[in-house]
């Protein structure tokens, strides 16, 4: 068997979500004593993203001839790859649980008739060619233990549940050029890309997210959150009530039906912490909550809590960070003067 892993590219690099998928694929491959074969949709003569070897890919299938993103054509190419793979049973195809990962593997599942387990957090071989998996339901609020017995297994990886870890030993990353025979029908739906109008930094990949909820009180109330996010090199995210109130657009929503975030720090201000909100922020490494109600779920489930009104705490915090930055600059100047 082989564990194929679709590696989405973000410019010339492997996307963060796909690094998590590669990590997951490598763990599964190791437990089945086999290797990981990465699949990228890019001309084989272009320089290989170094992450593929670093994350342990023994082989890299570079799919050429599909210009841009066409989900059904990508699914068709994977189906051909699976079809042409050695006839040993139990091949696995893994992709990140992103919009693209889900839809490409769903196309692959529809083309091949194979089942697809979405948002897996663990998988291990069980019996002849079967897998035991653990997957998320309710966006991670529940876990499902399941068996997957099929000629080949299709899995997407819950990207907030698996941290990216480079391999102890880099893979050989031997490149194989692939030219799938996609039909016109496979290419009917393809993405035309244009830059997003507002907000450069992405909520999904931000290192710091400053969250605002009902406690912010109004659209104007976000000024200190935005200022703080700027100081910390982060972005602002919001809870569902904020978008329902029309204070901020839905694109900023963190949660089950919004964006799932994986920052180093989530600073949740005036957010009580509905269960659907936790589904979006549980992947944060550290959570600090600021809330007037010390018994709010967000406050009890955070790592650190400040009891108080965000409109009192944030201005004081911003002032302290400014003073600290200024202090740092002054210190640097003093050091330079002395030198």
């Amino acid at each position: 068997m082989t564990v194929f892993c679709l590696a989405e590219l973000d410019g010339d690099a492997v996307a963060d979500a796909s690094l998590r998928a590669l990590t997951f694929a490598r763990g599964l491959a190791a437990s089945a004593a086999t290797g990981v074969a990465a699949v990228i949709f890019r001309a084989p003569d272009l320089a290989l993203p170094p992450e593929l070897a670093a994350y342990g890919a023994g082989d890299v299938f570079a799919v050429a001839g599909v210009d841009g993103y066409a989900p059904q054509a990508w699914g068709r190419a994977l189906a051909e790859l699976l079809d042409g793979a050695a006839s040993s049973p139990g091949h696995v195809v893994v992709a990140a649980g992103t919009e693209r990962g889900h839809e490409v593997l769903a196309h692959l599942g529809a083309i091949t008739g194979l089942p697809l387990a979405a948002n897996c957090v663990a998988a291990s071989p069980a019996g002849a060619g079967g897998l035991e998996i653990v997957r998320q339901r309710w966006a991670g609020l529940l876990l499902e233990d399941a068996a997957l017995d099929a000629p080949a297994a299709l899995l997407t990886v819950a990207t907030d549940a698996v941290a990216p870890e480079p391999a102890a030993e880099p893979g050989a990353a031997v490149v194989h050029a692939v030219s799938p025979s996609v039909s016109d029908a496979d290419l009917v739906v393809r993405a035309a890309e244009s830059p997003a109008s507002a907000g450069g930094a992405s909520l999904a990949t931000a290192r710091v997210v400053v969250g605002g909820g009902r406690g912010v009180g109004s659209a104007d109330g976000f000024a200190p959150l935005e200022e703080l996010a700027g100081l910390l090199g982060g972005v602002v995210g919001v809870s569902r009530v904020v978008t329902s109130e029309g204070w901020r657009p839905h694109s900023m929503q963190v949660g089950q039906t919004g964006t799932k975030i994986t920052p180093d720090l989530y600073l949740a201000c005036g957010i009580s912490g509905a269960i659907q909100h936790f589904a979006g922020c549980a992947g944060a490494k550290h959570i600090i909550a600021i809330n007037t109600d010390p018994s709010a779920p967000m406050m009890t489930r955070a790592d650190y809590a400040v009891v108080g009104d965000l409109h009192a705490v944030l201005p004081a915090l911003i002032e302290a960070l400014r003073a600290r930055a200024l202090g740092g600059v002054c210190l640097a100047e003093r050091v330079r003067e002395r030198a």
Binding site: L116, L232, S244, D303
Partner: protein, 253 residues
């Protein structure tokens, strides 16, 4: 435009999720039921398209008889017909069988557009729309946050990693949408009265024989990952402690 919208009855989850004794379902003794926010938006989008271009909205749900409650809620929002693809109580239907049952219904009508939520909020399978599209032999787009229709083509877009992706699909097609594509209306009083009286077609879904799909063995509520929070203080007085924590975490340059 003739539009079919597919919705799913799911428990309303609030503070805590608890499971039934056999660990195969959420205990719904004290909860209500609803459809996912994505699906509410799918119904709203369909109603808006019909208000603009004419036609009608049919809403369908695969589930137990009790799912008529959700179908009536959709009728109150402006759908004009509802079909229940009836399954036995307490039986979970996997994504492959769900797509097959929806296909039987969708293929029997002449729908220009089939709308679904991007994923059901309970099982989160992320595939029923695409499997249905393949069975119908129609193009599909998923995760869509904006739709516009002109003539016989539909333009669907979403933002992916800071880039707007726009897909142009010929009608008929299948589109799955996400919350945020619109702000759903509240049902009007006449709408609610009409929904209450409306008749809902029931189509029994026969067990389609063995289907190879992901086989759930049991559900678990993950252990709460967070310990009791360390309280840094009250109000602005907590700021020095807060700054130390930020430095410790490594988010201060």
């Amino acid at each position: 435009m003739e539009i079919l919208v597919c919705v799913k009855r799911v428990p309303t989850v609030g503070g805590v999720l608890t499971l039934t004794a056999d660990e195969r379902a959420i205990d719904t003794k004290t909860s209500g039921f609803t459809i996912s926010p994505h699906e509410e938006c799918a119904v709203e989008e369909a109603v808006r398209l019909v208000e603009r271009f004419g036609g009608s909205v049919t809403v369908a749900s695969l589930g137990p008889v009790a799912a008529e409650e959700q179908l009536r809620a959709c009728l109150a929002l402006g759908a004009s017909a509802a079909v229940l693809l009836e399954t036995a109580d307490g039986v979970e239907t996997g994504p492959i069988a769900t797509a097959a049952a929806l296909h039987a219904l969708a293929a029997a009508g002449s729908f220009d557009l089939v709308l679904l939520g991007n994923e059901a909020s309970d099982t989160g399978d992320y595939q029923v729309g695409i499997r249905l599209a393949h069975l119908l032999g129609r193009p599909a787009a998923t995760g869509i946050k904006a739709i516009s229709v002109s003539g016989s083509s539909l333009s669907a877009s979403r933002t992916y990693r800071g880039v707007v992706e726009t897909f142009t699909l010929p009608l008929p097609c299948v589109v799955t949408v996400k919350e945020g594509i619109n702000l759903p209306r509240y049902p009007s009083l006449p709408g609610r009265l009409r929904a209450k009286r409306a008749s809902i077609a029931r189509v029994p879904v026969a067990g389609s024989g063995p289907v190879t799909d992901v086989l759930m063995t049991r559900l678990r509520v993950p252990a709460a990952p967070r310990k009791q929070a360390t309280v840094l203080g009250r109000g602005a007085e907590a700021v020095p402690a807060l700054v130390s924590v930020l430095a410790e975490i490594g988010v201060l340059s």
